[in-house]
């Protein structure tokens, strides 16, 4: 029996939705510079501002929207220009936050369930993710926001893995990336409750982000968001099936008892290194990953799993499902898992 490729790496990036693609093609037709005052430029500007308004409606956000090239840039912008005091980050943040924060930032520990230890929060700028990209763990942002505000601090949430799937978290600044929810790579946004939270370096986006705007990207992002998250109901069902199968064949689910997004899971196959697993899965046409896409290829252990104190983090792979994932796909993955784990004759 031959199979086509099976993509189970949606936390790395997602297929572009057809409606996002259509919107981008329209964007390519509106190629004038949105800052040009002539009719063509004004048409591009109108489309850009219309998209900004639609984005706010789709997200349920009534603050400001600064378009950026992606979540990494949005996070860098927030951390660089926030007018808040010292920076506090969780130990399980994406490298985009950890490296921007630098070694001097306070790092909040997480417990073995992957949740941030709230006791140590203080004033200043707190950068906490909504959803972890390796384990799917959802942080209790509402409680964290309450803590941060009671200390007079500002909360920045990296919502790259949550936007388009979960409701928008309650935060002062939120970073998002279109290609994690069916939009194009190369576009994202920083949502800001109030411009007064940031210094303005100058240029476009009201002086908060210079550079000619990527209108096709913006249009694609908004169209993807407007496609909705109705499929998350299916994702929950598929994920339950996936995890029952993994556990039944001797695998461990990382942070099994913690609230997690239905699309991302970390699974340990005892006795098999993640790299060996990946090679086997890839050979069978199945795309999964060991940790985040960016860090893949590096041999160092995942900082997320290490911070949680997970046993044998080098044996954990990430499986992330998406809108088009089907039950047949899950069965195929589980058959491959069992074969690699040596639970069935090959």
């Amino acid at each position: 029996m031959t199979f086509g490729p099976l993509y189970l790496d949606h936390a790395a990036t997602t297929p572009l939705l057809p409606q996002a693609r259509e919107a981008m093609l329209e964007g390519f037709r509106l190629w004038a510079n949105p800052s040009s005052p002539h009719k063509a430029g004004r048409a591009a500007r109108a489309a850009l501002e219309d998209a900004r308004a639609r984005l706010k409606i789709a997200l349920g956000w009534d603050g400001e929207v600064i378009f950026a090239s992606g979540a990494s840039e949005a996070l860098a912008l927030a951390i660089r220009y926030a007018k808040a005091g010292p920076l506090v980050v969780s130990a399980v943040e994406h490298d985009a936050v950890l490296r921007a924060a630098g070694p001097e930032a306070v790092r909040l520990a997480v417990s073995p369930d992957g949740l941030v230890d709230l006791e140590t929060l203080s004033s200043g700028l707190a950068a906490i993710q909504q959803v972890n990209s390796e384990t799917g763990v959802i942080q209790p942002i509402e409680a964290i926001a309450g803590q941060v505000r009671s200390h007079g601090g500002v909360l920045l949430v990296d919502a790259a893995q949550g936007v388009g799937k979960l409701s928008l978290p309650d935060a002062d600044m939120i970073a998002l990336s279109a290609h994690k929810f069916g939009g194009p790579i190369g576009i994202g946004a920083l949502l800001v409750r109030d411009y007064a939270l940031l210094d303005a370096p100058g240029g476009q986006e009201r002086g908060y982000r210079g550079g000619t705007e990527n209108l096709p990207g913006v249009l694609g992002m908004v169209a993807a968001l407007e496609a909705g998250n109705g499929w998350m109901v299916d994702a929950a069902r598929l994920r339950a099936l996936l995890e029952a199968g993994v556990v039944a064949s001797g695998g461990d689910v990382i942070a099994a008892g913690t609230p997690r997004i239905s699309t991302i899971g970390g699974y340990r196959m005892p006795g098999k290194s993640a790299n060996a697993q990946l090679i086997r899965f890839d050979g069978m046409g199945i795309a999964v990953s060991a940790g985040s896409a960016c860090s893949s290829g590096s041999l160092k252990a995942s900082h997320v799993l290490t911070a949680m104190g997970v046993d044998a983090p080098g044996e954990v792979i990430r499986v992330s499902i998406g809108r088009e994932t089907s039950e047949v796909d899950i069965e195929r993955f589980l058959a491959a898992w069992r074969e690699i784990a040596g639970k069935v004759a090959a």
């Binding site: 490729p5 993509y7 790496d9 790395a12 990036t13 997602t14 297929p15 939705l17 057809p18 693609r21 390519f28 190629w31 004038a32 510079n33 800052s35 040009s36 005052p37 002539h38 009719k39 063509a40 430029g41 090239s69 990494s72 840039e73 860098a76 660089r80 994406h94 490298d95 985009a96 936050v97 950890l98 490296r99 921007a100 990336s177 290609h179 790579i185 190369g186 370096p201 100058g202 240029g203 210079g210 550079g211 000619t212 705007e213 990527n214 209108l215 096709p216 990207g217 990946l278 890839d282 795309a287 999964v288 990953s289 985040s292 896409a293 960016c294 860090s295 893949s296 998406g322 088009e324």
Partner: protein, 359 residues
């Protein structure tokens, strides 16, 4: 509408658009993959990015690397801030992306003046202790081509790095072979918006501005868009293959445009100039009125970014024009897809509207 604003942005080349489409894929194909994923689809996307990188590198000197960014603004920020240099000298007619960033880094930045032709002197005196010099290759408002090779030599003799904003020149004229860093933007050379590059000479040490996954050799984190890279690469490759015919076409349009606008005064050098840029003025002209009366023609009064600010152009002021004179200038930009008939029709409309103002 007749589009004559090629310095603000250029039409997307159909070839660039085609090159992007396979990478704007849904689940039915592999083209959506994250190029940093090690699985098969990811490796294919990464390979496409490397092809594009080579196509862009072909516009640039040997002995360096191409770092993809979200555009030239980011590339220039990365070069200036990331170089860690603190004493800057930049030309007085740089784009805001250089001027504002230079002021951010060095409040006492030295502005190198230009003559009444809009040219920095090749013998420009650099201030004592300057360690980063930035001069653009082709000015975005008046098209003047700066003697960047000579200035780069002077910068090096003074122990400084030389950064060149080549946004308006890349793909049209050869990049300065002795620059240390060169910034490009895809959408000024018929590629897509949202991507550009910083070329960095081997051995030059930079610190990143955007941290994270460590893409682009650690210099610029963030998932790279295979679609944007492929579009940029295809556009760059076209500039290489069509270089001669593009140049001939622009020369022909320039000659015609000079005749059509013979009554106007040219701003900036006639000869040391990219001839796809016609910046002209007429005493007493009300430019806002002219723009509103020529609604079928897209042209501008200076750079797109500064438009609407109400400030007179810092470039025209640097040429020695008064505020009043600077406010009477228009910029007409043309290129590969401009027809001579379009130029003629636009000139008729603009000249008629100017004539009705009695100037």
């Amino acid at each position: 509408m007749i589009y004559l604003d090629y310095q603000a942005t250029t039409p997307l080349a159909p070839e660039a658009r085609e090159a992007m489409l396979p990478w704007l894929a849904g689940p039915e194909a592999d083209g959506f993959a994250n190029p940093h994923s090690p699985h098969r689809a990811g490796r294919a996307a990464a390979a496409a990015i490397e092809v594009a990188r080579d196509q862009v590198a072909a516009l640039l000197p040997p002995g360096g690397r191409v770092i993809f960014t979200s555009g030239a603004t980011e590339a220039l920020n990365l070069a200036i801030i990331g170089s860690g240099r603190s004493r800057l000298a930049v030309s007085a007619i740089e784009h805001a992306a250089v001027l504002d960033t230079a002021r951010f880094v060095d409040h006492g930045v030295t502005l190198l003046s230009v003559d009444d032709e809009g040219l920095v002197s090749p013998d420009a005196k650099l201030p004592e202790g300057a360690n980063l010099v930035s001069v653009m290759q082709v000015n975005n408002e008046i098209g003047t081509i700066q003697p960047v090779a000579a200035i780069a030599d002077r910068a090096h003799a003074a122990g400084a790095l030389f950064l060149c904003d080549a946004v308006q020149g890349a793909g049209k004229i050869a990049a300065p072979a002795n620059a240390d860093m060169i910034a490009l933007s895809a959408h000024k050379l018929y590629g897509p918006k949202g991507i550009g590059a910083l070329w960095v000479r081997d051995g030059i040490d930079l610190q990143p501005l955007i941290h994270g996954g460590g893409q682009e050799q650690g210099l610029r984190s963030g998932t790279l868009s295979p679609a944007l890279c492929a579009g940029f690469g295809a556009a760059a490759a076209l500039c290489t293959s069509l270089g001669e015919s593009d140049a001939r076409h622009v020369e022909m349009l320039w000659t015609r445009a000079r005749g059509l606008f013979a009554e106007w005064t040219l701003n900036g050098s006639e000869t040391a100039r990219w001839h796809g840029n016609l910046n002209i003025r007429r005493d007493g002209l009300d430019v806002a009125r002219l723009l509103s009366e020529c609604r079928t023609v897209a042209f501008s009064a200076g750079s797109a970014c500064a438009s609407g600010s109400g400030r007179p152009s810092h470039v025209l002021r640097a040429l020695g024009l008064s505020d009043k004179q600077a406010r009477t200038a228009i910029r007409i930009g043309f290129g590969r897809y401009t027809g001579v008939d379009e130029l003629e029709e636009a000139a008729a409309a603009i000249n008629a509207a100017a004539g009705s103002q009695g100037v």
